[in-house]
C-alpha cells in the first residue's frame, strides 16, 4: 500500500484523444521524490529530449510531489516540465496555489500531455473521471476570464490552470496561470507556449476523494506543531506585505537590478513601489496557497486601464523589481496594472519586464527602427510604454513580434550592440537578484538547469543570513562579494532546493528556518520510509544532476555556464555592492570539482555511476 503518492501517472495524447495510465515504481519516487525530480527521470528515461519543444511529440509533464496536498506547511506545489520553447533545454516551472493539491485528489500524481488537439480543448477532472472538452469559446480569452467561465461552467467546484493569449500565440516568455484571481504562475521558460502549442487552453480540476494514504498522521502533526511558530515568526514580513515587502531591503543590499542592471541605488523609487507602500493604497486582502501558514499572497485593486477597479493578484517582489527598478518606473499604479495585465495575458513578469527594460535601453541607443516603433516612445520610466509593450508581446504585434522571443533572440534583430543589453544565461532572462551583490548567485545563475534562475539556489538568503548557512551544515558568515566557499554553498543549496521542487514544497520554508532534518521527517511520516537528512541531500544531488545530464545531452557544457558581460564586467559606482564583480571562473572550477563534473562541466562517469544515472 503506497503512502504519499498514487504511483500512477495519466498520459494523454491530444492528437488522437487516447490516454493510458502508467505505473511508476516506488523506488523511483524514493530516488526522485516526485515533482520535477520524477518528471526529469521520466523525461530522460523516455528520450523525450529528442523532440523540439513545440513539436507535436514534445511532452508537457505536470507532476505533484510526494508531500503535495498534505497538511504540511506549504506542501502545495506542482511542476510543469518539459523542453523550454525559450531555451530548448530542460525546463520546470513550479507553481503553488490550490490547483496542485486538488489535482492530486483525482487519483494521479501527474500528467504527461503529448500531441496536438485539432481544435482548442481543455481538460476536466471530476467525479473520478476526466474528459477532453471543447475550448473554442475560451480561445482568445484572458486567464481571469477563462478561469471564471470554467468555474461557472463547473458549478464553482474547479481550480483552473490556464494559458492566456500569450501562450496561445506561442510567445516564448508566456506562463501557465493557476487559480484565477488568487493568481499563481508557472511563469518561467515559456511553458505557456508549450501548452498553447498543444491547443490546450486549460486544465480544470475538481476535488476528488482519491488522495493517497498518509503513513503516520500523528508524527506529521507533531513535527508540524514544532515548526509552525518559527515559520510564522521568521516569515512575518512575507505575511504582512508579501514578497514585494522585500524591495527596500533588497535595494539597500545592492541586490536590486536597476535600469537594466546598470544602476547601483534607487532608494526613493524602491520605497514608492514597495509592498509596504502599495499595501497602504491598493491592498484588498491577503491570501494563502494550500496548507501555507505564511500567506504571502495579496490582492489589490487595479488602478489603471480597462480593468481599473477590479481586484487582482498584487505584484510580487520580482514583478516590482522588473516593472519598477529595471524600467526606472517608480509609479506603483503602473506596476500593479502591468502585473494584472501579464497575469491576464499569461506572460512571465520576470522575462516580460526584462525584455521591456531591454527595449528601453535599445530605444535610448536609437537601435529600434522607426517603423517598428510606431507611436511608441519607450523611454526609461514610461509606464504607458510598459502597458503597450505587454499587449504587443502577447499578440506578437509590432515590436512584440521580436520581444515575444525573449531578450536573447530579440537581440539578434537589433544589431550586435543590442547583445550587450540582453541579460540572460542559456536564453533565460535573469531573475532580479544581482550576482554582484551576492556572488554565490553567479554560480547559481551560471549553472542553473533552466538558465538564469534564482530559485535553483536561493543562496542570497544564506549570504544575507535570512537562512543562515548553519541550517544546512555550513558556516553562517559568507563575504557577500568574495569567492571563498561559494561553490560549496551553491552546490548544497541547489541540492536542497531541488528536493523542494520534487516534494512539492515552497521555498519560503527557508525564510521560516525549516531545516533539512524536518523535511526528511515529513517525508518519513508521509511515506512510511525511514528517510533522513542524508538521503534527502542524496536525492537532491541526484535530481540536480539528472537535469544536468539531460542538458549536456542537448549540448550544454561549461561554455554555456556563464553570465552576460554586464554582470561580469560592469561595476556599479554606487550602492552597497558598488565595485563588486563575481570571479566566476574561480568559483566555477571549484564548483565543478565538488560536483564531480569534468572541467568542461560534464558529469563524470563515476559521478553518474554514484548517483545511478547510467
Amino acid at each position: 500500500m503506497l503512502s504519499g503518492f498514487h504511483g500512477k501517472i495519466l498520459e494523454i495524447n491530444l492528437s488522437n484523444g487516447k490516454h493510458r495510465v502508467t505505473v511508476v515504481p516506488e523506488e523511483d519516487y524514493r530516488l526522485y521524490l516526485g515533482g520535477s525530480g520524477l518528471a526529469a527521470r521520466i523525461y530522460k528515461q523516455r528520450g523525450y529530449d529528442r523532440f523540439p519543444p513545440l513539436s507535436e511529440e514534445a511532452p508537457l509533464l505536470i507532476m505533484t510531489g510526494i508531500l503535495t496536498g498534505y497538511n504540511i506547511p506549504t506542501a502545495c506545489k506542482a511542476a510543469f516540465c518539459g523542453k523550454s520553447p525559450a531555451t530548448s533545454i530542460w525546463s520546470e516551472a513550479i507553481v503553488g496555489g490550490y490547483w496542485p493539491a486538488v489535482f492530486k485528489t483525482n487519483g494521479f500524481d501527474g500528467l504527461i500531455i503529448t500531441g496536438r488537439a485539432d481544435k482548442p480543448v481543455y481538460l476536466h477532472f471530476g467525479g473520478g473521471e476526466f474528459s477532453i472538452r471543447d475550448a473554442g469559446l475560451l480561445w482568445g480569452e484572458d486567464v481571469y476570464e477563462t478561469s471564471g467561465r470554467l468555474e461557472a461552467e463547473h458549478g464553482g467546484k474547479v481550480k483552473v490552470a490556464a494559458i492566456g493569449p500569450a501562450g496561445e500565440n506561442e510567445v516564448l516568455i508566456s506562463s501557465i496561470m493557476i487559480d484565477g484571481h488568487d493568481a499563481r504562475a508557472a511563469g518561467r521558460c515559456g511553458m505557456g507556449a508549450l501548452m498553447g502549442s498543444k491547443n490546450l487552453k486549460a486544465i480544470a480540476v475538481e476535488k476528488g476523494d482519491l488522495m493517497p494514504d498518509l503513513s503516520d498522521r500523528e508524527r506529521l502533526v507533531q513535527t508540524r506543531k514544532k515548526v509552525l511558530p518559527t515559520i510564522r515568526e521568521k516569515a512575518k514580513g512575507l505575511s504582512d506585505f508579501g514578497t514585494a515587502g522585500g524591495v527596500p531591503m533588497v535595494e539597500k543590499l545592492g541586490d536590486l537590478p536597476i535600469r537594466n542592471w546598470t544602476g547601483g541605488s534607487w532608494a526613493e523609487g524602491a520605497a514608492r513601489v514597495s509592498g509596504q507602500a502599495m499595501a497602504e493604497q491598493y491592498f484588498v486582502k491577503h491570501y494563502a496557497c494550500f496548507a501555507c501558514p505564511i500567506g504571502c499572497g495579496k490582492e489589490m485593486k487595479v488602478p489603471l486601464g480597462p480593468h481599473r477597479g477590479t481586484v487582482s493578484h498584487g505584484p510580487e517582489y520580482e514583478t516590482v523589481a522588473g516593472f519598477g527598478a529595471m524600467c526606472l518606473n517608480d509609479d506603483p499604479e503602473y506596476v500593479i496594472t502591468a502585473n494584472d495585465l501579464c497575469n491576464r495575458l499569461g506572460i512571465d513578469t520576470i522575462s516580460g519586464s526584462a525584455v521591456i527594460a531591454f527595449t528601453m535601453e535599445l530605444y535610448e541607443h536609437g537601435l529600434i527602427p522607426r517603423n517598428l516603433l510606431g507611436d511608441l516612445r519607450p523611454e526609461w520610466g514610461s509606464g504607458e510604454s510598459i502597458l503597450k509593450l505587454i499587449r504587443q508581446i502577447a499578440y506578437r504585434e509590432g515590436l512584440g513580434e521580436y520581444l515575444a522571443k525573449g531578450v536573447k533572440k530579440a537581440a539578434e534583430h537589433f544589431g550586435p550592440l543590442a547583445k550587450e543589453f540582453a541579460v540572460e544565461s542559456k536564453g533565460l532572462e535573469f531573475a532580479f537578484h544581482d550576482p554582484r551583490a551576492f556572488t554565490s548567485m553567479a554560480i547559481v545563475y551560471a549553472v542553473g538547469n533552466r538558465g538564469a534562475c534564482h530559485l535553483e539556489g536561493l543562496t542570497y538568503f544564506n549570504e544575507n543570513r535570512a537562512y543562515p548557512g548553519s541550517m544546512i551544515g555550513l558556516k553562517d558568515d559568507f563575504d557577500p562579494h568574495g569567492s571563498d566557499d561559494k561553490a560549496l554553498l551553491a552546490k548544497t543549496m541547489q541540492d536542497y532546493m531541488a528536493t523542494f521542487n520534487a516534494l512539492g514544497l515552497c521555498k519560503f520554508l527557508i525564510r521560516g528556518h525549516v531545516t533539512p532534518a524536518v523535511i526528511a521527517e515529513w517525508v518519513s511520516a508521509v511515506t512510511g520510509w525511514d528517510f533522513n537528512r542524508e538521503e534527502l541531500f542524496r536525492a537532491g544531488e541526484r535530481i540536480f544532476n539528472i537535469k544536468r545530464v539531460i542538458n549536456t545531452g542537448l549540448g550544454i557544457s561549461r561554455k554555456d555556464d556563464t553570465l552576460p558581460p554586464r554582470l561580469l564586467a560592469h561595476e556599479r559606482g554606487e550602492g552597497a555592492a558598488a565595485g563588486s564583480l563575481p570571479h566566476l571562473g574561480k568559483m566555477l572550477f571549484e564548483y565543478y570539482k565538488l560536483r564531480g563534473w569534468s572541467p568542461e562541466g560534464i558529469p563524470l562517469p563515476e559521478t553518474r555511476e554514484r548517483l545511478g544515472l547510467g
Copy 2:
C-alpha cells in the same frame, strides 16, 4: 622635402591591371606613423570595412613604417593589413626580414592591392618600375621553391614575399612568407588567403635608389651608439638560441600552454625541444633581419620527410610551444620538420599547431567521425599526425577541409563539446603565453584588435621583468596572478606596441630595454619633427583606438572582449601558475575606464574627439 617617408602609396587593381599613386599628407604620417597605423587610417577613411575579406574589392594594404629601412636597430618591418578572412575584423600581420626595407627603396611607402587577377600573377619592382607578371608556373609551388625561382629569374637581386599552397587554397590560417629560407612570416589572421584570393602569388622587390631622405644622420648615429651595447647585452639569449631558447624559462613560469591549455608543467619535454637542445644537433647558422643587432634567426637542417637534409628556418618559440607542448610532442625532429612544412606551405605555425592540438583533443574524446579520419590517428604527441595534418590543412583535404578554417569555425562541425576545446578569441587562436600565468595578458588577449594576439601588449615581459615597468613609467613589481594595476599596464603597453607596428620596429627592442624616449628621438632624427615620448604615446593611443573604432563598426563590443572558458575557469593543478585564474571582468571594467570607452567597450564620443577620430 619629406624625410623618413615618401608620402606616396602605390595602388594596384589586379582586376584591370590599373594603378595610381596616392599622396598622403605629412600630417597623417605624424599622427599614424606609417605601418599598420597609417594603414588603419586609410582603411577607415576609405570605408574599406564594407567589403567582405575575400571579395574582389577588399584591399590588402602593405605598409612600411617611417623608421623602416634606416640604420636603426630592428627598423625592418612592414605591415600586411586588411580585413582578416579568419576573423572578419581588422587584421595586421607584421613581418621583418629584408623585404620591407628593400621595398621602401622603390619610391613608395606602401601598396594597396585590390581586385582579382584573372590568372595567377606576381608583382615585380626594380629599376624604378613595377610590373604585373605571369605566375602560372609558380602557382602550386611552395614558398621556398617560389622564392628560389624568382630569385633565379631576377638575377639573385630580389627579395620575395610569397604565399604557399595554403594561401592559394584560401586556408584561413595561411601566412605570407618573406625572404625564402631566411624565413619571416606575416603569419596571423589568414592574410595568405587574402593575397591568394587576388591570384597574387608573390611580390618580388629589387633594391632601388629611392630611399627617402634622413633628417639628421649624426643624431641617429649617436642615439644608436648609446643603446646598442644594452640591446646586445640584454637580448643575448635571443642572439644565442633564438626565441626558442625561451621555452624552458617560459615553462618554469607556468606560462607555456601544454596539451591544448590543460597542463601545468612539462619541464622535461620543454628541455628536449628547447632552442638550446635544437642548437646542439640541428643548428646550421645564425641570421638577422635588416639593421638588427640581435639576430634571433637560426637556420637548421630539416631532419625528416621529403626535405630531409635541406637547410631551413629553425622553429621560433611559438612554433615549439605549438607543435611541442600544445601537442605533447617532445621530439624536436618533428617540431623542426613541422615548422619547415608550414613555412613551405604557407601556414601560420601558431594557428596551425593550435588547430592540430585541438584535433588531438577532439580525437581523444571520440568526436571525429571515422570517415574523416581515414588512416589518421591523431593521438597526443604523434609527430607523424602533425605532419599529415599540416598537409591536409594546406590542401583542404579530409579533416583539413574543416581545420583550415581555424578552431572556432572547425568546432562548429564536431558537436557542441568541441567548442570547449577551441581556445580562441574573436576567432583567432591564442598565441602561446598563458593569461593564467601573467594575468595582464587576459586583457591583452581579450581586447586585442586582431583577436587573441600576444604582440599587441607583450605585457608578460613587464610582469616577469624582462622589460621592467619603470621603462614605461610604471611600477616594476606586478603580482603576476593578481588584478591590481593590470589595466594600466595593458593600456600603456598596447599604446607603445602599436607605435612599433607603425614605425617599422621589432618588439624585441623591449628585450633590449629600449625606452620610449629613445624611440621618439629616432623619429625626430629621421623625420626632422620635434617628436617626444608624449607624442609617441598619443600616437600609439590614437592608432590602437582607430583599429577599435573600425572593429566596433563591424559589430565588436564587450561581448567579444573575452577569453574562452578554458582560460577563465580551468585552474591547472601544477606548475608555477597552478590555481591562478584571471579576474577578467574586474580588470576589463577598469581598462575601459582608462581607455575612455563605454562599459560596453565602445570608444566614447569625447575619446574619439580627443584622438581626432571623428
